[in-house]
Symmetry: C2
């Protein structure tokens, strides 16, 4: 696996890094196609917004150049960026000065079965609930124990993903994906102001829907509302869109809007 | 700074460690005196309980031997253990098999002013609220962005610590300490079933109080109740006990029970 740390090939990380000590940082998981990062601008925007909220002072021009160079060398696959606040002395206080650390890792694209996208997936009903923390909601930060706990709940290949509610019972997202619903021609996706990750593919799909003249609502969605949904699908930057065909015994068929969005994204 | 990784001197960490990727692990911050770890059994108990909850399979006998050897070599100061789930392939799923990674770091004891313990400290009223997540509450896990955000709220030396409430407004703990209250001869400390770290010194103080025949209540405590408290103090494994003398304009004097507990712990 090719890795760069601050632009240089590396195999190891300083033990004093605050990413390790506190999960003090952010990450981005990006698909690389023909030497280019898909939706690079959206990834950079989210990264910058995360840096502002966590008060990490990142040189975005240098970051962009580094990502372009890394992807050009990689060619195809997944490029993961871990951005940490860098080394710290002991204690939670922000180091002065701070030198953020940029870690880039290349990996092949995971081999998901083609039928996930074609026939749809079953969602596991996770018992792990997402805590409500508006200060961190939406960010792709490095505090991911909730996702680790949730993903450990199932171990069969029948379920491609798991659905996560927050501690107040709202539907939020899946373990490594966002979720959308279609009801009466309108696209719905959960409000993420209390928990969840505001995914790049979620953003891209909302843009696409608006371009297509389809109404998009970001709102609280409770499990009771599932029975009235015409279509469900999950999405992320790596696999695109998977229709949902089953959750807790309720079933759906891949619907026309899901297919239309898949078709546009495949081009 | 002396560091060991899995029992061997080391300066770096594999970039594939899940501690870095997800904060997937636990830590312990231990005081070392004359080559021995203070309250070693309590630290090991909490570590073991954390491993059970996170499903990390740790060889406790090996861990104990390693801590003893490290402390014997260190002599005096702070020994920090970071225990991660070890290396992972891509994705949240638990690696099979899992090889947990034990990281030990030696540091000098922080130099806090002696008047913190003698005259007491002021607490900063943190705006950062702790999310409610019963699955992780009490654990000293590596997902510490809330503490990082909270500690960044003040930058003066007037406040030695900051008080944290949860998102529902209960008093939980301080940024790097637990908190106790004395009311009518009874010792109170917040319930930590929804958030917070169940500290070793908190545990030790509750044991001590019971030995002294002092009633201890673990319960929800709201800020409104502060006006009726006779004494307040914070505690952790490194500094012991600091009386609280001020919070949001309310003032207290170091009281007799605080002094008694300090005196016993100093021996």
């Amino acid at each position: 696996m090719t890795c760069w740390v601050n632009g240089q090939p590396a195999v190891g990380l300083a033990l004093t890094d605050r990413g390790l000590a506190y999960g003090d940082g952010l990450f981005e998981t990006m698909r690389v196609t023909d030497g280019q990062i898909n939706w690079l601008e959206l990834h950079l925007q989210r990264l910058q917004s995360g840096c502002q909220r966590l008060r990490i002072d990142l040189d975005m021009t240098q970051m962009r150049h580094e990502l372009l160079a890394f992807a050009a060398q990689q060619g195809q696959g997944v490029c993961k960026l871990i951005l940490t606040r860098g080394d710290g002395q002991r204690g939670y206080g922000l180091p002065q000065p701070t030198y953020p650390r940029r870690i880039l890792q290349a990996a092949p694209l995971p081999l998901w079965p083609a039928q996930h996208a074609e026939q749809g997936v079953r969602l596991f009903p996770c018992q792990t609930r997402l805590a409500i923390q508006p200060l961190l909601a939406g960010l792709k930060h490095l505090n991911r124990l909730e996702q680790v706990m949730a993903r450990a709940e199932w171990n069969d290949s029948e379920h491609a993903e798991g659905l996560l509610l927050d501690t107040e019972g709202r539907i939020i997202e899946c373990v490594f994906s966002n979720i959308f619903f279609v009801r009466q021609g309108c696209l719905l996706t959960p409000e993420l102001s209390g928990s969840g990750v505001a995914g790049i593919m979620r953003e891209r799909i909302m843009q696409l829907a608006r371009e297509l003249g389809i109404a998009v609502q970001i709102r609280d969605i409770l499990p009771d509302a599932l029975a009235g949904m015409d279509e469900l699908f999950t999405c992320n930057s790596l696999y695109g869109i998977w229709p949902v065909r089953e959750y807790r015994g309720q079933q759906w068929l891949p619907g026309p809007l899901t297919r239309k969005l898949q078709h546009i994204l495949d081009r």
